[in-house]
Amino acid sequence: MSEPHIERPVDRSKLQVSDEVAIQIENMNKWYGQFHVLRDVNLTVNRGERIVIAGPSGSGKSTLIRCINRLEEHQSGKIIVDGTELTSDLKNIDKVRSEVGMVFQHFNLFPHLTILENCTLAPIWVRKVPKKEAEETAMHFLEKVKIPEQAHKYPGMLSGGQQQRVAIARSLCMRPRIMLFDEPTSALDPEMIKEVLDTMIELAEEGMTMLCVTHEMGFAQAVANRVIFMADGQIIEQNNPFDFFNNPQSERTKQFLSQILGH
């Protein structure tokens, strides 16, 4: 049952996709022990694409996007991010991680640091940016997610929606070229979902390449240029949002959509 959290009209003309390939996944397989979570996944994402990944619980959505910045290791196949192939080579991993930002379902802010420190930690220690500069960048992105006034508070003092926006800002401070979202709104109260989605839409309008696992179908329809449906660790169907929702091809997809949209 998705309520219409998207109110703000999205200017689709701003959403441009280039021909450059941002992420390329070829015949990728992953096992947890004996359990085959991801089966022969193939996916090419161009720069500027906004991809929404949907599918029933346990279908491997999270695992897929966590493989993209190597929070999980894949066992066969290739993952190439921005021209860098993910192997066990630490340098490549570092490179990919500095290009790819990630936002988690439970925010995972660092509770012992202020909002500002959360945002400057990685730039200072990974990118070796001077503190002053890092703070300026951080304030810039905090303004963008509309909470500059909270900069000196601790995460525990913020509402869930505010925390998730800080998490987005924290990722942005590393100036990633690709953003991964893993159900960024599913731990939030309804009122707060909107503010987070608004932030994400803005990001999309600025041309950020995004992969987003979400159940917010309104968001998918408004922003995504492709919806990918996964089940049992495989990509079952992908299509543009209009066709995906109005004219699903596979049985699994239809069944899933009927459940989720309450038809």
């Binding site: 689709r12 003309s13 959403l15 441009q16 996709v17 021909d19 397989n29 096992w31 022990g33 004996q34 359990f35 085959h36 089966r39 022969d40 090419t44 161009n46 694409e49 066992q75 066969s76 240029n225 492709r226 049992d232 660790g233 495989q234 990509i235 079952i236 169907e237 992908q238 299509n239 543009n240 209009f242 066709d243 091809q249 596979s250």
Partner: protein, 437 residues
């Protein structure tokens, strides 16, 4: 619009079946590689671990293997070992345990009466079971309430009537409390205490005598001095915990109270007890209690130690229960208030049942700590199993010179009892966490 043009439409026609993981992902070799030799650091650690195990085993195994179970004295043990394994071989002389194990377990309790402590501890398990396992019928709790007095009678023996009188005192107090409850709880508690004390002072003497003559139900009395070994340790530990529960609850409530004086006294008591080592309190029991009581009062050292052990564990139990009280949401207090329950009724019917349940793991841990600490009574001349009993056994010329056997035997028993209890309390903690979600 360049927006959707790019996206390739894809529909999977055939589902892929799951495939087995690649060979290097499975099997023993993978396990060994991942768990023992995943990096050079791990390899070093593994080798070091193997070296430690080998070192210990090669050192101690012969000693164990050469162990002698049947001998009348240490020299005889040595002879047997020398005869069997050659001159210079060392070995354990388990014969000392074999000969004296009853002393480790029961101290100097009369052997023909061993059935009594055994029965008592069997019954203790029955009494404790409904508290620890909530699945059991609640009716069993009635037995748990009666059990302490039954245990006293079984362990110390003597006529049953004094014990019955103690129970009767409680009953009288309870009745008075029921009657006075109408006029407020403070009055009821005061009245109950006064009534019970008056009852205990005046009634038992004559009544015991008459009843003792009319219906002489009695067990052969056993003096406290004859208690020793694990019997003493468990009696002190379990008795201390059981008696400290009511006091601990009151202290916990006192510490949570918003009345300044009550809170202050509770805090002072708790912090004082927790701030000094148990051994100093045992000294108080054995050396100072006589100063603090009216001249001429003099009672059993075990009872005195028990009193101090009770005070000691009460302070710790109070802290455990305070944790349980704090874990309850405020709404429970408010709902009870709104229904018109007064403070004591709310505590008794709503708050404590829940707080105590949450506190059980903590209480079990406190008990483990207490049980270990009972070994300290060796310093006031009681025969606890770890030091006094071995020392007294070594005062026998036949067993002079046996050390490790005692340590290992006593340590093993402590370990088995405490380990199983701590596992239980962990299980309980996990279960509570699940229930409370």
């Amino acid at each position: 619009m360049s927006d959707t043009s790019h996206s390739a439409v894809f529909v999977r026609k055939t589902m892929l079946p799951p495939e087995p993981a690649p060979a290097r992902q499975t099997g023993l070799s993978k396990w060994v590689r991942e768990n023992l030799f995943s990096s050079w650091l791990n390899t070093i650690l593994t080798l070091a671990g193997i070296a430690v195990i080998w070192g210990l085993a090669s050192h101690f195994y012969p000693w164990f293997r050469h162990g002698v179970w049947n001998a009348a004295s240490l020299p005889e043990c040595r002879q047997i070992i020398a005869a069997r394994w050659g001159e210079g071989a060392t070995g354990a002389c388990w014969a000392v345990i074999h000969a004296r194990w009853t002393q480790f377990i029961f101290g100097f309790y009369p052997p023909e009466l061993f059935w009594r402590p055994v029965l008592t501890f069997g019954l203790m398990l029955v009494a404790v079971a409904p508290v620890l396992f909530t699945q059991l019928p609640r009716g069993m709790l009635k037995f748990s309430v009666v059990f302490p007095l039954l245990a006293i009678w079984l362990l110390w023996g003597g006529s049953i009537w004094p014990v019955v009188m103690i129970a009767a005192g409680f009953a009288v107090g309870y009745l008075v409390a029921r009657i006075l409850a109408h006029w407020g709880m403070i009055l009821a508690i005061l009245g109950a205490v006064v009534a019970a004390v008056l009852f205990w002072i005046f009634v038992p003497g004559p009544v015991d005598e008459i009843l003792g003559r009319v219906a002489p139900i009695a067990l052969e009395p056993v003096a406290s001095r004859q208690f020793g070994g694990f019997l003493l340790a468990i009696t002190l530990g379990a008795g201390g915990i059981a008696m400290s529960l009511p006091l601990g609850i009151l202290l916990a409530l006192g510490r949570q109270s918003d009345m300044f004086l009550i809170k202050t006294f509770s805090v002072m008591f708790i912090e004082f007890i927790r701030g000094v080592p148990l051994i100093t309190l045992l000294f108080v029991a054995s050396l100072l209690l006589n100063y603090f009581l009216p001249p001429g009062t003099n009672f059993d050292i075990i009872l005195r130690v028990m009193i101090l052990v009770t005070l000691f564990s009460a302070a710790y139990i109070a802290e455990v229960i305070r944790g349980g009280l704090a874990a309850l949401p405020r709404g429970q207090y408010e709902a009870a208030d709104a229904l018109g329950l007064d403070y004591w009724k709310a505590q008794r019917l709503v708050i404590l049942p829940q707080a105590l349940k949450i506190s059980i793991p903590g209480i079990v841990s406190t008990f483990i700590g207490m049980f270990k600490d009972t070994t300290l009574v060796t310093f006031v001349g009681l025969f606890e199993p770890l030091k006094s009993i071995p020392d007294s056994i070594r005062a026998d010329i036949s067993w002079k010179g046996t050390y490790w056997e005692h340590f290992i035997f006593v340590g093993a028993i402590f370990f088995i009892l405490n380990f199983s209890m701590s596992r239980y309390s962990m299980y309980l903690e996990r279960k509570l966490k699940r229930d409370h979600r």
